[in-house]
């Protein structure tokens, strides 16, 4: 977020205030098994207004909007559109009623043009002419201030531009309510500004916009109304004119719950385990850092700023283009492709638990053996019996539920799967642990367990933590490196309060003034 304020240039800001709500959610509840994701929510969505839904992860914002957009069905409660009770059986029903959602994963056909994507399924007539389609899209884009080249192939667009295409799709279908789910997560500061301008123009023309966020500054800048969700319920609603300052908002969001915190005893740093100097190439620019045993270095930043490439280099899945990378004293080319078996090892806990770290349909022993197989090998033979016994011990120690080893990895929930992966990787007694967003998608208790384990591991290893959760970085790390567009904006110790304050800025690419 840029430091300078976004100036709200809306002309018609309160032009529609007298109109009845377009959509009304009344007493909406949604239950998933034992979890009550939404509890008795009542909300009005008015034309020409931008409503922000604020809340922490897991507060229930996405669930509520999924119900509104027709993806889920509510457990109880009614949705009124234009005053009439309506039922959405599918997203198509919602779109027909004028409600559309822009998801975080875009639904775009990469190989087709912008115009083709916007008009897909909506073309008039049997024969279509690209020129005519492009002209229509240009007209629409101009009307709402969403500059885009209609003949460009989607695969060539930036994230911000792709998002614009998604919005245009909704506008083309005459959506009256547009739901944006964390839209600025993938945008640069300039693109964020452009998005806000577009949102104002759409609102000026009578559209309702609901946008889900947990970024307070943005919400304050752009929204007309703010609703705060906490634990599945609406705890506050404000109009922009009577919104208090950020601090109050933050407290309301978080409530009396203490932000998840953990006690990290200091550990004396040992020898250098990872040394990177001027690593460049593949989108990375002159990255340098030194990791010691006993330390945790957190690479903080919005996903997609080069973290993946860095991790791949460190874990041997990508050759460094230029620069020096030394792992446990060995040059990259000596350490990989065959890392030394005994003694020095690097453990990688990937973000993609299901697709990369484990094999869904194999049992727990096989999954355990995936990276530990060499420890159970003598000659060409593999000692499965011993492996099974060890697996049982590890499952027990790391509290993986359910604990029978014949079950497949698929039957484990996210948290338990992660614990299995961690148990497995720790078994190898690694000297370096690379953990990528290790608590993503985990609930509070699982997160705490994982954090404990990582901190414990400091006694034997140095930990490189890649995370986009700022809190995680602050809780676990000794040093924080903020990554933006392939560069380290800064690397500093967590005790440096001033720098910690400006992490948000750094994540958005703004260097300290």
């Amino acid at each position: 977020m840029s430091e300078r304020d976004i100036i709200n240039n809306r002309t018609n800001r309160n032009a529609f205030v007298h109109l009845p709500p377009l959509v009304r959610l009344e007493h909406i509840c949604k239950v998933f098994g034992k979890v009550r994701a939404n509890n008795d929510i009542t909300l009005d969505i008015r034309p020409g207004m931008i409503k922000a839904l604020l809340g922490e992860n897991g507060a229930g914002k996405s669930t509520l909007m999924s119900i509104l957009s027709g993806r889920f069905m509510q457990t109880s409660g009614t949705i009124y559109v234009d005053g009439t009770a309506t039922r959405f059986d599918s997203p198509r029903d919602a779109i027909n009623a004028g409600i559309g959602m822009v998801y975080q994963h875009f639904m775009l056909v990469e190989s087709m043009t912008v115009a083709q994507n916007v008009l897909l399924g909506q073309e008039k007539g049997f024969i279509i002419s690209p020129k005519a389609m492009e002209a229509e899209v240009t007209k629409l884009a101009e009307r709402y201030g969403l500059p885009i080249d209609p003949s460009a192939r989607v695969s060539e667009l930036s994230m911000g531009e792709k998002q614009r295409v998604e919005i245009l799709k909704l506008l083309y279908r005459d959506s009256r309510v547009l739901i944006l789910d964390e839209p600025t997560a993938v945008l640069t500061p300039t693109e964020t500004e452009q998005l806000f301008e577009a949102m104002w123009r759409m609102a000026d023309q009578g559209k309702s916009i609901v946008f889900i966020s947990h970024k307070l500054k943005e919400v304050l800048a752009v929204a007309d109304e703010i609703a705060i969700l906490r634990r599945g319920e609406i705890v506050d609603e404000f109009h922009e004119s009577d919104v208090p300052n950020e601090t109050v908002l933050a407290n309301r969001m978080v409530g009396r719950d203490v932000v998840l915190a953990i006690e990290a005893e200091p550990v004396k740093p040992g020898s250098v385990v990872l040394d990177i100097a001027n690593l460049s190439g593949d989108g990375m620019e002159s990255l340098s850092l030194t990791l010691r045993k006993g330390e945790v270095i957190a690479i903080a930043g919005v996903a997609g700023n080069g973290q993946k490439e860095l991790v791949e280099v460190v874990c041997g899945l990508r050759k460094p283009v230029s620069g020096r990378v030394e792992i446990l004293g060995l040059d990259w080319n000596k350490f990989y492709p065959r890392p030394p078996r005994k003694g020095k090892s690097l453990a990688y806990i990937p973000e993609d638990r299901q697709g990369l770290a484990t094999c869904k349909y194999l049992d727990l022993v096989d999954n355990f053996l995936l990276t530990t197989r060499h420890s159970f090998t003598s000659g060409p033979f593999l000692n499965r019996k011993e492996a099974a016994e060890t697996t049982v011990k590890i499952i027990d120690e790391f509290n993986v539920q359910p604990g029978h080893i014949e079950g497949t990895a698929r039957s484990l929930s996210g948290g338990n799967l992660q614990k299995l992966v961690i148990g497995r990787e720790f078994f190898r007694q690694p000297d370096i642990i690379v953990a990528e967003n290790p608590t993503q998608g985990l609930d509070i208790s699982a997160t705490e367990e994982v954090w404990q384990r990582l901190l414990e591991a400091r006694n034997r290893a140095g930990i490189l933590l890649i995370t986009s959760e700022l809190n995680e970085a602050l809780q676990l790390a000794d040093y924080i490196a903020v990554m933006y567009r392939g560069r380290f904006m800064d690397v500093f110790h967590k005790s440096d309060a001033a720098k910690v304050e400006s992490i948000g800025l750094m994540m958005a690419g703004v260097t300290a003034a």
Partner: protein, 390 residues
């Protein structure tokens, strides 16, 4: 909304294989009977003849057992490849090259004693069959050339190669122009073990045991099983993926080559074009039915061998064209594919107000082992944190 919906099972059914097979068999037989009726053949009698020919008498059982030997060997090889998602459909061509290799050994060293000639034949057959598989493997690894097409083309080329030699240099001058080599000397013929069952059966047993040990007890075997399941995880776990691809192809080529050798030596006692009867394609059916469970492969090999023998009987008694076997095999594979649906999915009744169910492992599509790689859905754009959040 419909009153039921299809849901993916948490864990695929394990025992479904045999049940599905027999249901599929019944369906295939039913449709085949229809076809027979179209051609005016008495289908009830046909079914009986099918059974009789395959399993009813001692003689039939021996026939079936003999045919199951090459099918078993080819199927082992193909199953190993399929496990790695290497779609090797070139077993037929590899079989041909094995036959060619064995024949070369015999024709080059016709006077060698059995203790030297036999091993040489086995070595040559394995070598040529393996080489024939290694080339498409190399093309896949180096050039990403689709192995389905390359192995298939190699089937055609392999068969033509065999014909080239049999019609040409290797033709028996005393054969009156018929394409066949001289009769193999006794030293080159695989002898009988008991009755009509020759030592090829022993080869099958030995190979089965060794493969079983390899897959279950060795590290490479584990890597094969796990790596085939998820190539991305294999790369993550630093498994020698490329080596494994080459290994399974070479293994299949060698085994199919031995099948070719065995048929040439024990069954025909000479090399002729009609050593090619399509065992390589039958192996695909068996491999798909049985996956990589060796006992299942054995059972399905016997069943499909029985099918072939039975169809031969049909040919004899009712003049049913040989293509009938192809129809049965094709139908069988299709019905089994369809039936396997129930291993993975179940049909559930649904009331009006259900939404997405949030259960473990429900995130993302678990695509079938399909040709295209499954792009896993990885982390969402993470929530960037607001700067200065107090």
């Amino acid at each position: 909304m419909l009153g039921f919906r299809i849901a993916k099972r948490q864990e695929p059914l394990q025992w479904g294989s045999f049940f599905i097979f027999f249901a599929a068999l019944a369906l295939s037989l039913g449709i085949s009977c229809l076809l027979l009726a179209i051609q005016g053949k008495p289908f009830m009698r046909a079914l009986l003849l099918l059974w009789e020919g395959a399993f009813a008498h001692g003689y039939s059982l021996e026939d079936t057992a003999l045919k199951s030997i090459p099918i078993f060997l080819c199927s082992l090889g193909v199953a190993v490849c399929f496990r790695m998602q290497v779609w090797n459909i070139g077993a037929e061509g590899q079989y041909a090259l094995g036959a060619v290799g064995a024949t070369w050994a015999v024709l080059t060293f016709p006077d060698a004693p059995a203790w030297a000639l036999m091993p040489l034949m086995f070595a040559a057959a394995a070598a040529l069959g393996a080489a024939w598989a290694a080339i498409p493997a190399f093309l896949r690894l180096k050039f990403e050339l689709n192995e389905i097409i390359s192995t298939l083309m190699f089937n055609y080329i392999g068969m033509l190669l065999l014909e080239y030699y049999v019609y040409g240099d290797w033709k028996d001058p005393a054969s009156f122009g018929f394409p066949m080599t001289v009769m193999f000397p006794d030293t080159a013929i695989i002898g009988s073990m008991f009755g009509r069952i020759h030592w090829g059966a022993a080869v099958c047993a030995v190979v089965a045991v060794m493969l079983s040990v390899f897959l279950k007890r060795t590290r490479l075997g584990f890597e094969l099983m796990a790596g085939g399941e998820n190539p991305r995880a294999a790369r993550y776990a630093r498994m020698p993926y490329n080596f494994l691809v080459m290994l399974v192809m070479v293994l299949c080529g060698a085994l199919a080559g031995w099948a070719g050798l065995i048929e040439t030596s024990a069954t025909l006692n000479r090399l002729q074009p009609n050593v090619m009867v399509g065992y390589g394609y039958t192996a695909i059916v068996v491999a798909w039915l049985a996956r990589l469970r060796i006992t299942s492969i054995a059972v399905f090999s016997i069943l499909l061998a029985g099918l072939r023998v039975g169809v031969e009987n049909l040919q004899l008694e009712l003049q049913v064209p040989a293509a009938f076997a192809g129809i049965m095999q094709g139908l069988l594979l299709i019905t089994v594919l369809a039936g396997q649906f129930f291993n993975w999915y179940e049909i559930k009744r649904v009331s009006g107000m259900e939404g997405e169910v949030d259960t473990p492992g429900n995130s993302g599509n678990a695509g079938n082992a399909g040709n295209a790689s499954n792009t896993g859905n990885t982390g969402d754009a993470r929530n960037a944190v607001n700067g200065g959040q107090e």
